[in-house]
Symmetry: C2
DNA sequence: TCGATACGAAACGGTAGCGTATCGAAAGGG
DNA sequence: CCCTTTCGATACGCTACCGTTTCGTATCGA
């Protein structure tokens, strides 16, 4: 199956084609945007390919030419939505870098519609294919996010716990998501500082 | 819809009946238990009335005689759900109590609450009251859980961080849910120990 | 121009599950 | 004993929608 990290499924039988009529990238965007909108409005299970086709003004064939099934489409849409790169670590210390990173992460998560998070959440429970796709994306982002700040901190001679990166990846998204989804709270500056100063830093410094 | 606080729908056209064959309360329980089991196994959308009937050994008619639709059934099941009581703190130290508490919490979340969360997100669009009900139920346990162990630890003279209870309530459910849903991992003994020793204890002891 | 591919429109088979209806039998109360 | 209601079994109509297929048309690269 075409994973989300591959982007839209390659033309033809799997490999990109140079001949023939090229794909319309405008339709790519229309499909993903319609998917996100409907996902937020109605949830994963209620999301129908026909509705996506109708909303995006595209024939169903055009969708199935790109994505093998609903799970792949939704995963691609989620990835399309959160296509941001974490901030580069500045020159400052670990705390400043963590503040920036957590702030960015909180913004990424909180900015999503709560309905979208819930839809993905519920969809992962009901559709193993979607769960697999989503976890692939999450793992990739996780790695990309935690590569820099801790390595740099070590390079500066700061004291960092041995498994700081793993611990960060395990804690930060969990606490943020839990706050947004379950508790229904906001992710303001105070919360970011609380998360960094009261939870992350004490643990990551050992 | 019949809200969960109304309990099973009254007999006949809405008012309780004294004449005729009485309802079988054993079937009431069987229905709700089957609903809860299927809810945690497959999620809200996958939950079919036919599956509930089959699992509970009851005819579909018997379900629809009690609940007008799926949302009402799920709400009633969530309300019925045994609000499991956390384990009493033993005589041992804080670590042992935390291990027991986190183990119980992990089991509780993995076996029950994830399904309820899925139902929450699936149902909140079609029925806001159901969503509110779910949030209330989910919070109920998290609060009731953090009362005992830290107070006792302080009583024994153990060193405990000032806001240990709040920190615990913020961290433990978040990390567990994140592991179950996002990472897709199991909550075995190793994970419980990791959560207690590597995350909770260092923070809660200050 | 030609070949290959993308696109839209529409129809199709198949699956699934909801909620209803019907029927006979069982089980309680007055 | 009779009336009322519950319960099981089953069939049913209905809706939804997935994923596929077909065919005619549009649009690109070579």
């Amino acid at each position: 199956m075409a994973s989300a990290s591959d982007g839209p499924r390659a033309a033809g039988a799997g490999r990109p084609s140079t001949v023939g009529r090229p794909r319309d990238t405008g339709r790519d965007r229309a499909i993903l945007r319609a998917t996100l909108a409907l996902l937020t409005e109605t949830g994963y299970e209620q999301l129908s390919m026909e509705a996506v086709a109708s909303r995006s003004g595209v024939a169903k064939t055009t969708i199935y030419r790109r994505y093998p099934d609903k799970a792949a489409l939704v995963a691609a849409a989620a990835e399309y939505r959160s296509a941001g790169t974490p901030p580069e670590p500045a020159a400052a210390g670990l705390r400043e870098n963590l503040l920036a990173l957590v702030g960015w992460l909180a913004h990424q998560i909180a900015e999503q519609e709560v309905g979208l998070l819930g839809a993905l959440f519920a969809g992962m429970r009901s559709d193993p294919r979607l769960a697999e796709e989503m976890r692939r994306i999450l793992r990739r982002d996780e790695v990309a996010m935690t590569e820099h700040p801790f390595g740099e901190a070590v390079g500066r001679g700061e004291q960092v716990a041995p498994h700081a990166a793993e611990l960060f990846a395990e804690l930060a998204p969990a606490v943020i998501v839990h706050r947004v989804v379950v508790a229904g709270g906001r992710c303001d500056e105070r919360f970011v500082e609380h998360l960094v100063d009261d939870i992350l830093l004490p643990l990551l410094r050992g």
